[in-house]
Structure formats: structure tokens, C-alpha cells
Amino acid sequence: MVEIQRVAKTFRTAGRNGTGEVKALADVSFSVRENEFISIIGPSGCGKTTLLKMIDGLIPYDSGNILIDGKQVIAPGPDRAVVFQSFALLPWRTVLANVEFSLELRQLPKEQRTKIARDYLKRVGLTDFESHYPHELSGGMQQRAGLARALAVNPAILLMDEPFGAVDAQTRQLLQEELLELWQRERKTVVFITHSMDEAVYLSDRVVVMTPRPGKVAEVLDVPLPRPRAAEDVRRDPKFVDLTNYIWDSLKKTMENHH
């Protein structure tokens, strides 16, 4: 379980016009249940990526507390893995070597590394591309590799930072379906950042709606759709339409209040 308690973050900026302060997050609280798929949605700059990095332990928070199973987060740990928006693949490594990277850092012997990496490449459908370099692959395939790299370390919590934001619409839908399938099989806690309402509702158990900067939680919504979810059925379900509309209104309201 991930508990985010009254977390705040202010960035100090140094520019030509001297130093300034940007309040990214103010008093964010919510919790994520075990094996839950939760999405965080909000306008650009609301600090959702910052929040994700703080859950991963990459950047410190100023006040409040982030707890995972009761333990305070102070650094990245083996229980978490991130899927990055820009894929963050190493261009000088093949797809296989990229997936092995996360295992290398865990000091696994070479043979075992390759075996595990191949296994996860198979699960994301990249078996035939293991000796390709990232630039030889489409965006969707690159992100599949990014997903395989994260899953390979078998984390309890998968942190996904707008992972499908940089791929085209069709690929995006395909990746969403594949992700749900994988999640259903692997049972992981997923924190998923997005600014697509469709995506948030289709994938998640709950959706956290955030306000513009400084980011706060506007509301946390349950998604009352049964699983497993077939994309075609879900998108026509009146409950799906209602909820996306509701989130749209909610986002609009937070934006208007902001002005």
C-alpha cells in the first residue's frame, strides 16, 4: 500500500532574472491499495510527474510523508520500477541489453539476466526484435521494451509516467489493452500518470483528479466498470461515457477556479 500524506514540494529556480520559487505540489494526500490500478490525471504542470518521481524516491519532498507498506520513501528501491514517457532506452544497447540493464544493476549473473529479459520481451511481443537498437523500432515498440525493462525486476509497484503519451492513437489503444492484460496476469500496484480521460477511466480502478499548479487532489473517483474490460465494450458503456464527462467537467472546474 502506498500512502501519500500531505506532501508538498517547492522548486527553487535559478535563471537570468535571479532565483525564484515554483510551488509544484501543495498538500497532496491519497493512498493506493495493494494491486490497485490508479491513474493520476491533471492539467500540464500540475506536478503529477513530480509526484511520481517522489513516490519512486528520485526527488525528495519538502514536507508530508510518502509511505510504502508503512516505510518512508527516501530513495529508489527494488519494490518500484518506472516506465518513462520518453522511453529512456540506452541508444547504444540492443533491446535485449536494454531490458537486461535493470537486472544488471541488481547484480544478477549474465545467464539469468538474459533468460529473464527474453521472458519479458516475449510477454510484450518483442522476441523478434531483441537484437535491434532502439532507433530501429517504432515508438510503441520502444515503450514495450521500456515496459519489459520495468517488469523484469518484478516490482510490486509499477510507476508509469504518461507512458503512451509519445505514441500515435492506434498504438496507444493497443498498448493500453496489452497493459491491462499484463496487469491482470501479474497483479501489480500501478500508479499511472496521464492527461487522457479515456485512458484513465479505461485502465483504472480509481482516478485521482488534480488541480493546476500548485497541484492538489481535487477528487478521487471510483471507476465502476467490471473487469476484465474489453476496449470496444467499455468505451460504449454509458458508465464510461458518464465518468469521462464527469472528469472533464471536474478538470474544467479546477482550471476555472484557478483563473
Partner: protein
């Protein structure tokens, strides 16, 4: 690639023909026709003058260049990695980079004498700064997302450096090596001309002052060819090490 080689060949052939014609028409000692230069080159080669001198020159250059590459890469990595080292050194590196290196030759003579040590030092000074600056730039330009990714998967400082920064900076390091190699050739010839007259630089001075222009041009052409071969060598190593980058550039 094939077209390029063809174009090079056409360019060299037409220059050679023009040169030959100009030499014959002008009939001046200042521009000997290519055929005479070729004959002089053969004489130097057969007389056992060219190769020993060339070998001596290349030995000096290799020593100075390897030293420059080692020192340059280490300093460049440190400057790229640690802000404090960069701030401490960057003033000197930048001014020495653009300063005329030849101006330091008298100082080097005082420090190292007129022997091979001085010549190695000149080659070193010619080559080292461009390697430092390229290496530093390479390290500083590493995509921060990759560093973040590595940290997120639990990489320690040492692993971030060895597995992310070093390979990511490799294309820039190799660019520095390539430029440094070109400068090392210049340093080698400069040292031999300004210090004791030895090696191919010494030959240039000797033939130039005695108006043996055919031999002079023969030596100059030899140096050009050697420079081209060394550059090609460096490029081959570069492609081996950073093929992933080249492929990106081609697309």
C-alpha cells in the same frame, strides 16, 4: 560512399594534371611538375632518407598523442562530471585551447631541452586541449533522463558513470580524439621545424632553405598522406566504438 570515393579520385586526378601542366609551362623552380616531385620522392625513399625520418617523426607523434589522449580524456571526464573541477580548470583550458601553441615552444625548450622530450611535449600541447573540451562537452550533454532512469533502477554513482555517462559521451570523446590526431600531426611537424631539425619537419626546413623544391614537395605530400591515413585509422576505431550513433546520423 562509392560516389564520394569516385569524386575524391576525380578531384585528385584533375589537381595532379593541372599541377603537372603548370609546372611544365611555368618551368620555375618554385613549382616543380609532379613528375619531378615523384622522381625526388623515389630518390628519397630509395636513398633511405624518407622512411627513417618518417618513422622517427611518427614515434614522437604517437608518444605525444597517446599521452594527450590519456590526460585529455581523464581531465575532460572529471570536468564534465564535477562542476567544481570544471570551474577550476575551464579558464585555463579555454585560453590554452585558442592560444597559438607555437608560442610555448621556447618555454618547452627551456624546460625539456632540445631533445625528443620537447618534441613530445609540443605534440601533447597541440592535441590535448581539444580532447579535454570535447570529452567534457560529451559528458555534460548526456541526456538527464537516462541518468534518472539508471538511478531509478538503483544505480550507484559509479554505475551511472560507467554505464551511462561514459558510453553516452563516447561519440564526443571520439570526435575529440579525431581532432586531436589532426593537431598532433601539426604539432609533430612544428616541433621538428622549430626545435632540432629532425624527422620530416627537419627535411622540410632543409630542402626549403636549399631550394630543393622537388624534394620539399615530396616530403610535404608524404606528410599529407600520412595525416590522411591516421585520420582514417581513427575513423575506423570511431565507427567500431560508436556505431550506434553513426547509424542514427545516417537515417
Amino acid at each position: 560512399m562509392k560516389n564520394r570515393a569516385g569524386a575524391n579520385l576525380v578531384s585528385i586526378a584533375s589537381l595532379a594534371i593541372l599541377w603537372e601542366l603548370a609546372g611544365r609551362i611555368l618551368d620555375s623552380v618554385l613549382i616543380p611538375p609532379l613528375s619531378k616531385i615523384g622522381a625526388a620522392w623515389w630518390k628519397l625513399l630509395a636513398g633511405g632518407k624518407l622512411l627513417p625520418n618518417l618513422a622517427a617523426s611518427l614515434g614522437t607523434m604517437a608518444a605525444g598523442f597517446v599521452l594527450a589522449a590519456l590526460v585529455g580524456i581523464v581531465i575532460g571526464l572529471l570536468m564534465g562530471r564535477f562542476r567544481a573541477v570544471e570551474h577550476f580548470l575551464d579558464l585555463y583550458i579555454n585560453s590554452l585551447m585558442s592560444a597559438p601553441t607555437t608560442a610555448f615552444v621556447p618555454v618547452l625548450i627551456l624546460w625539456f631541452g632540445l631533445g625528443v622530450e620537447s618534441r613530445i611535449a609540443v605534440v601533447f600541447l597541440f592535441a590535448v586541449f581539444v580532447i579535454v573540451i570535447n570529452t567534457m562537452t560529451g559528458v555534460k550533454q548526456v541526456d538527464s533522463v537516462l541518468v534518472e532512469m539508471a538511478r531509478s533502477f538503483g544505480a550507484k554513482e559509479r554505475e551511472v558513470f560507467l554505464k551511462i555517462m561514459l558510453p553516452a559521451a563516447m561519440p564526443a570523446i571520439m570526435a575529440g580524439i579525431r581532432l586531436g590526431m589532426g593537431r598532433a600531426v601539426k604539432g609533430m611537424v612544428t616541433a621538428e621545424m622549430l626545435l632540432t631539425l629532425t624527422g620530416v619537419g627537419g627535411m622540410i626546413m632543409q630542402y626549403g632553405s636549399s631550394f630543393a623544391t622537388d624534394a620539399l614537395f615530396a616530403v610535404i605530400l608524404t606528410i599529407l598522406i600520412v595525416a590522411m591515413i591516421t585520420m582514417r585509422l581513427v575513423q575506423t576505431v570511431d565507427h567500431r566504438l560508436t556505431g550506434w550513433k553513426v547509424e542514427v546520423a545516417v537515417e
